[in-house]
Symmetry: C2
Subunit: 210 residues, 2 copies
DNA sequence: TAGATTGTTAATCGATTAACAATC
DNA sequence: TAGATTGTTAATCGATTAACAATC
């Protein structure tokens, strides 16, 4: 047996395909093609067909893909045909925006608790949430069998927070702190660092012409 | 001449190297090695040496790299040895967090204006900022020769906002809206989509064991 | 000098693209 | 049937890694 695992880079594109499919559904479309999907994403149709082929056959020759069917299949593949509870650590400005970010809800990710370690903040109302002591987080993760966590704390605290999350059972971490987390096998981390993106783009700024 | 351009994926790693170098400086370190940098990032030392070799020779055999020197060189390469003014569109929760995100300041990116199209919001205080009419944005971009913009508006509005930015002279866009922007040659877009990251990681969740 | 680490070359690995038979 | 588009194979392209001479 031992199927070769699907390349991670391919998995990472599925959410993007899913997004386009949802837009197509909103537009009332029933059928699409790898060509159309590629055009809307700025990638080749061949790549889309190749990517999908890792998971099965979803289209019909001469016709294309049934939009809703493909959407459902991608949701199954990604395990997002259900809701996922998520813990959030860090009750700052960023945490506030994340806690109330509509798209998490819409996509099936429910932030079930917001935690911080600042005694001034613990117990305070935080939009829809009440800020809880991060010390109580492990118990909640274990009781509710939560697998996903978001870190929105300063870099110095991020490593400890990640450790506590992992120890309690979290295996997927979305990390907004600009630190590389060393995690055991089986735990995934995705990083979001807007500063790195701006620095990356600054490289291409034509500084001579200024 | 026509030097081959440095691969974009290599450029994208420079900000990460820079981050580690800054941490090393904070720790009072003077010298480091590709081995140490790789260990702290979970990548191979060969990759670091190869990446740096695209830009020049920064180390000394037998010794390694002077931390501050390498840091300064990377800053020069990335054109971040100066401050960059940035416009921000979208005065929602996310915009609020971005407008006050310290790391932008620290890294030399100054948000010089926050814009929205909601008449209810225009003119309102927004933390340190006053929300301005997005219609006035192009004039400000042109007057101040601003090259970078951040989009934090709903998907439906993002395409128009990007168009206006680009027309006014923006060439680097950090886009938080979950839409692919079609941009002319010479304009760069970086996407941030936390939902896509969660969906990506959901793939690896072992759903059977639930 | 002996030890360490760079910068670079060549080998390997993996991802993307082109092309087309299959078939709806 | 003619036209269109898939799924897949093979070719191409590009990125990573291993290895080592150069040298501090």
């Amino acid at each position: 047996m031992a199927d070769k695992p699907v390349p991670d880079i391919v998995v990472g594109r599925l959410p993007v395909y899913l997004r386009i499919l949802n837009y197509l559904i909103d537009e009332g479309r029933y059928i699409t093609s790898s060509q159309e999907l590629g055009d809307r994403l700025g990638i080749s149709s061949a790549q889309i067909r190749k990517d999908l082929s890792h998971f099965g056959e979803f289209g019909k020759q001469g016709t294309g893909y049934d939009v809703k069917y493909l959407r459902d299949q991608l949701q199954n593949i990604l395990h997002i045909n259900r809701r996922w509870p998520v813990v959030l650590v860090g009750a700052g400005d960023l945490g506030h925006a994340l806690a109330h970010y509509r798209r998490f809800q819409d996509a099936g990710f429910d932030i079930v608790g917001v935690f911080d370690n600042d005694p001034e903040k613990i117990g305070q109302q935080f939009g829809r949430y009440v800020i809880q002591d991060v010390a109580t987080m492990p118990g909640i993760i274990e009781e509710q069998n939560i697998k996903m966590g978001i870190i929105a704390v300063p870099p110095a605290a991020a490593i400890e927070v990640a450790k506590a999350m992992i120890k309690a059972g979290i295996v997927s971490i979305l990390n907004y702190a600009p630190v590389t987390l060393m995690v055991p096998l089986g735990v995934r981390v995705q990083y979001i660092d807007p500063v790195a993106h701006l620095q990356h783009m600054a490289y291409y700024q034509n500084v001579d012409e200024d």
